[in-house]
C-alpha cells in the first residue's frame, strides 16, 4: 500500500472536470485507489463520491493505492496532482 498527501492548489478544487479526468485515469489501473479528506475515504472510481468530498483549493487530501500496479498508478496520480490539475 502506498499513501501520499497533496494540497489542492487549483482554485476550484477538484471540480467536475478534473474529477472526471481522475476517474478515467484510475480506471486504467487494477489497483484499488481511494481518496481521503478529513475522516472520509471514498473510492476514486466514482465521480459522484469524489464530488461529494467537496475538496477545495487549499485542502489537504490523501491518496491511497493498493494492488499489483500501485507504483505505476501512484506515479500517474502524482503527475495529475502536481501538473495536470492546474490546467483543468
Amino acid at each position: 500500500m502506498i499513501t501520499k498527501d497533496y494540497i489542492i492548489t487549483a482554485a476550484e478544487g477538484i471540480h467536475a472536470r478534473p474529477a472526471t479526468a481522475l476517474v478515467k485515469l484510475t480506471k486504467k489501473f487494477t489497483s484499488a485507489i481511494s481518496i481521503k479528506k478529513g475522516d472520509r475515504t471514498v473510492k476514486l472510481n466514482s465521480l459522484l463520491n469524489i464530488l461529494a468530498l467537496a475538496a477545495k483549493g487549499g485542502d489537504t487530501i490523501t491518496i491511497i493505492g493498493e494492488g499489483e500496479d500501485e507504483v505505476a498508478a501512484m506515479a500517474a496520480i502524482d503527475i495529475f496532482f502536481q501538473e495536470e490539475l492546474k490546467h483543468l
Binding site: 467536475a16 472536470r17 474529477a19 473510492k43 466514482s46 465521480l47 464530488l51 467537496a54
Partner: protein, 572 residues
Amino acid sequence: MMMNGIGASPGIAIGRAYVLKKQEPILTAVILLNDADILIEIEKFNNAVALSISEVEAMISNYDTSQGAEGLDILEVHIELLSDPQIKDDVTEKISKDRKNVNDAMIEVIRDAVQLFKNMDDEYLSARAADVRDIGDRLLKNLNTTHKITARQYGPDTIIIAEDLTPSDTISMDITHVIGFATQAGGKTSHAAIIAKSRGIPAVVGCGPQLKNIQVDDILILDGQTGQIMVNPGRDIIEQYIMQRDAYLAQAALLRSIKDKPAITTDGTTIKLFANIGDAADMEHALGFGAEGSGLLRTELLFMGRDTLPTEEEQFEFYKAVALKAKGKPVIVRTLDIGGDKQLPYFNFPAEQNPFLGYRAIRICLDRKDIFITQLKAIWRASAFGKLKIMFPMISNIQEIRAAKAILHEAMDELTKADVPFDKTIEIGIMIEIPSAAITADLLAKEVDFFSIGTNDLCQYTLAVDRMNEKIKDLYDPYNPGVLRLIAYVIEQGHKHHIAVGMCGELASDPKATLLLLGMGLTEVSMSAASIPQIKNIIINNNLATAKRVHQRVMEMDNSQAITAYLQEINA
C-alpha cells in the same frame, strides 16, 4: 410587468415566451415478489445505462465545438456519472434488498444524490445537483424504450421559460430559434448557465415562482447582464433595448474575435495586457476579457469597510484566493495605499493641510511596521499558490525602497523559521508616481525587478494640480509634454537596466495613448478588464515602426492640444 433574477449569461434577448412544463417522475410503490423479477429489473437498469451512455456519446460526436468546449466537458462528466459504480451499487441494492422496481429504485437514488449536492454550502457543488438530475431524467426516460421523445419545434425568436433546465436541455437547444431563457431555479454556476454563456445566448436564472406569471406568446425583453425580465413592454422600451442589444452584439463580436489572440503587433512585438483588480472575483472576470494577469491588485478593499485591521490570516486567505483564481498568471500585489483620499475608520489619520503630500501609502507602512510586516507575511504565504509579485506605492527615494525591502526580508526570515512554504523568487517592484522617482529611475532601477508607472498621481504631482479641484481640472492633463517626457524616460531607463516597465494608471486604458506608449517601448499595460479588447484591437492592427514614428512626432509637439488632436486623428 417586470421581474428580477440572476443574470447568468450576458446579452439582450427580445422575443416571444414559450413556457416549458416538466413532468415529475412518479413512484409506483411496486414490491417485487419473486427473485426472477429482481434479475429482470437489474437488467432493465443496465440497459437504460447503456442506452443513455450511447445517447450522450452521440451528442459528443455531433457537438459543434465552434460554440465553445464547455458543453463537451459537461457531457464527459455525464458519461462518468451514468457509469458511476456508486449509483449502480445503490440502485442494485434497492432492487435486490428492498425489492423495489427499477423505476422506484432509480428515482430514490437520484433524489438522494441530488439532495446531497443541493445541501452543500459550496455554490459550485450545489449547482452539480442539476447534472445528477439530468442523468437521472435520461435514465428514467430510457427505462421505457417504447416511449420516443422527438425534438421540440420552436418558432423564431423564442425565449424559453422553465422551472429548471438540465444541461442536456441547454446543449440540445436549437439556438437558431431559441434566443434566450429564464428559469425559476439555478445559480450563476449551474451548467445551464455555463453553456448559455459559451453559446452566447442571454439567460436569467433564479427568478423564483414569479416566473409562473409569464404566459405563452408574451413579448419579453430579457437582460442577461442585470437579470431583468420585462413582460409585454411598451414600444419605446423595446426600441431602446434593440439599440442596447446591437451595441452589445458589436462589442461581444469584437471580444470573441480577439479574446484568445495574443496581443502582438503586426511586426511581432508582444504586449502584455493585464487588469487592475480589487479581489478574486475581479480576477476571474478579467480572465474572461483576455487578461494575462493583473498589473495591480489594490489591497485597500481588504482594509476598508470594517472596524479593525485585517489579521494576517484574513489577508492570507484574500491573497491566496486571488493567486488561485489567476491560475498561474502573474498578479502584482500593491502593498497598502491608504491616506490621501482613502481613509480608514479605525485608523487615526492626523488632520493635514495637504493629505496628498502627507502621511500616506509607503510612508505609513514604514512608520507602522506592525501593519506592514503583517501584510508582507500574508503575501509571502499566498505566493505558494500562484505567481505573485510585490509592489510598493508612493516611493520618492531609494532609502524607502531599501527600508521596505529590509522589512520584507524580516518577514521572509520569520516564515523560513516557521517552515512555511512561499515563493523565494518573488519579484519586487515599485510604483513610479512621484516625479523624483521618475527622474531618478536610473538609480532606482538597480534596486528592483520592475517599475509600474501610476499615471494618475504622476500627472497630478508633476503638474501641481489637485484633480479633485473643479476650478483647475483642465490643467490635469496626462498629455502634457512634461508628463510624457517623464514617462518616456522611465521606460527608457527600465530597458537600459533590463527591468520590466508597466503602466497601471488611466492612461493605459485610453485608446488614444496606446500607440504612443508602444512607441516609447512600453510592453506591459494594466487597465480595467472591460478596456482590454479595445486596446488589444489597436495593438494587433498596428506595428512598432508606426508606433515609434507616433512617439517621435508627439515629442516634437509643444502643447497637449496639438498632441491629443494628432493622436485622435491617427486612431480614427
